[in-house]
């Protein structure tokens, strides 16, 4: 891989668009794949508003057709996991023979599609702690946070040292102003993030509410905590120990957050497919087949599937 890595952003939404712009303005060669906004962005560029700041327009390399994209050193998968089924069509085109894939999605099993195309050794994953919204065609509003935990993919979920390639990618992100933490175990990091995502995403959809209201009502506050403990139990069954204090830390963290509509709630309100399999189905399959038990999570999963028939 060259020292001046090129990046393909697969999915230029609130997340892919934001990180892509950061890399682009730090001097990286970034190629953005868009869907419905492609023509708009080709003509007008991408617009980023950071917090209360002014609109900044970035004239980026935008594509509506993957066949027009060059092969890059790094393909960043920033689609919804529900669209991962199109990766076998896309990745062979946008990844160089010695290139790699970085999957910036939540949940478990989300690298599997990329690994089948590129081979498991060329796949990395990242967990983004980012608050951003897509507010219109080609328009992204960055709200807060942004750091990423990255690790090397392993199908069996065991430890894997990050390696030089991931360190180089992390350096590019750091150079673009994004804090990166490199993880020794990607699946363990994914389980930790699920401690937050599993209770808040599902309960916010089922109860049509925001994080602050879930925390303010003693009934749902207690329920959130019990669901978090079930995530910890499933992770433990898979061999990933999450310390007890982490549950309280996530509760405290949410107490301090501004009232927040979860991404699943936003998807639900917009009639989009929900990431139910990555956030609930695969964690339940892995945790339960390893002997874990999570009746509350399974109930949330059942309710979400009822609310969103496929």
């Amino acid at each position: 891989m060259t020292d001046k890595r090129s990046y393909a952003i697969i999915g230029t939404g609130a997340l892919g668009g934001y990180y892509g712009i950061c890399l682009h303005r730090s001097g990286r060669d970034v190629h953005f794949l868009l869907h419905s906004d492609a023509d708009f962005v080709k003509e007008n560029g991408l617009v980023l508003t950071e917090k209360d700041g002014p609109d900044n327009v970035y004239n980026v390399k935008a594509y509506g057709d993957v066949r027009e994209m060059p092969a890059c050193d790094v393909a960043i998968v920033a689609l919804k996991t529900t669209a991962n089924c199109i990766l076998p069509e896309i990745l062979p085109q946008v990844v160089k023979p010695d290139g790699v894939v970085l999957v910036l999605q939540n949940g478990l099993g989300v690298e599997d599609a990329a690994a089948q195309v590129a081979g498991p050794d060329r796949v990395y994953g990242g967990l983004c702690f980012l608050c951003s919204n897509k507010t219109g065609p080609g328009r992204i509003h960055y709200v807060d946070y942004g750091h990423i935990s990255m690790g090397r993919y392993r199908p069996d979920g065991n430890d894997a040292p990050p390696g030089d390639t991931l360190r180089a990618i992390a350096a590019d992100f750091e150079g673009a102003g994004i804090d990166v933490e490199l993880m020794e175990n990607l699946e363990a990091a994914r389980w930790r993030k699920l401690v937050w995502n599993i209770p808040y995403n599902g309960l916010s959809v089922i109860l049509r509410t925001t994080t602050d209201r879930l925390m303010a009502d003693p009934s749902t506050r207690g329920l959130v905590e019990r669901v978090m403990r079930e995530v910890v139990a499933l992770a433990a069954a898979r061999g990933h120990t999450i310390e007890d204090a982490f549950v309280q830390k996530m509760m405290d963290y949410t107490d301090r957050m501004t009232p927040y509509r979860t991404s699943m709630m936003i998807d639900f309100d917009l009639g989009r497919p929900l990431e139910i399999d990555a956030i609930y189905g695969e964690p339940l399959r892995r945790g339960e087949s390893a002997g874990g038990s999570a009746p509350l999570i399974r109930m949330i999963y059942d309710m979400l599937r009822f609310l969103t028939p496929s």
Copy 2:
């Protein structure tokens, strides 16, 4: 108690109104307590439509003020359980010194308010299997079913033979065309009815749906069955054995029902208080304090309390 018993109907809604009219037209002396419809019914009578039949008008003894009511041999409590707090005001007025109270409500602990006023030995309970709706002021539409399981109240939930008074009341209902089954153990009968009420009432409110859709989706169908098994487990902890086949029987019964909006769903849609404590709170308190475990029922309880802040 005289051979020709007088009845006070406390709460002339879809249930109290229907049974009261049946007793009235069979020749019993029936006094109806109404709230907002009192003046209307005094002037126009109660209207009952049975299935697809014609409207029949009954000129009944209607009261808007309990102080105008005579003391009766039997007071039938047909309020929502959420209104039981007004019974200490009402019952002393409408029950003769040797009269009794028959509580026709779902859930557990629903006789407690009556027992505190009249003493536990003068209280009976009944579970109604009735499909009826209130369709307007003083208007009741009888849809289907109607039989009642009646038993003697015991605070400790143990067996109690029905006794002559309850037999006489049951005979009045039978004479009015209502099938009555006398139970040796009222609490056991209440638990059996909860096997149906606990899954369908709560899940229909949380998921905004009807019984047929809960049964048609494999996710919620499995969930309903798991919740039913938790009710059986709580009942068992209290010493009430419900045979395993009963769960399947309730599932089959619901499969055969016409699509049904549960009473809790109707209350929710109308912005009325929900019978959460009688159907969830008290069963959980009794079952859990006896060593039972019901994480799914507790989760439904938490969600319902969140959806209906007091």
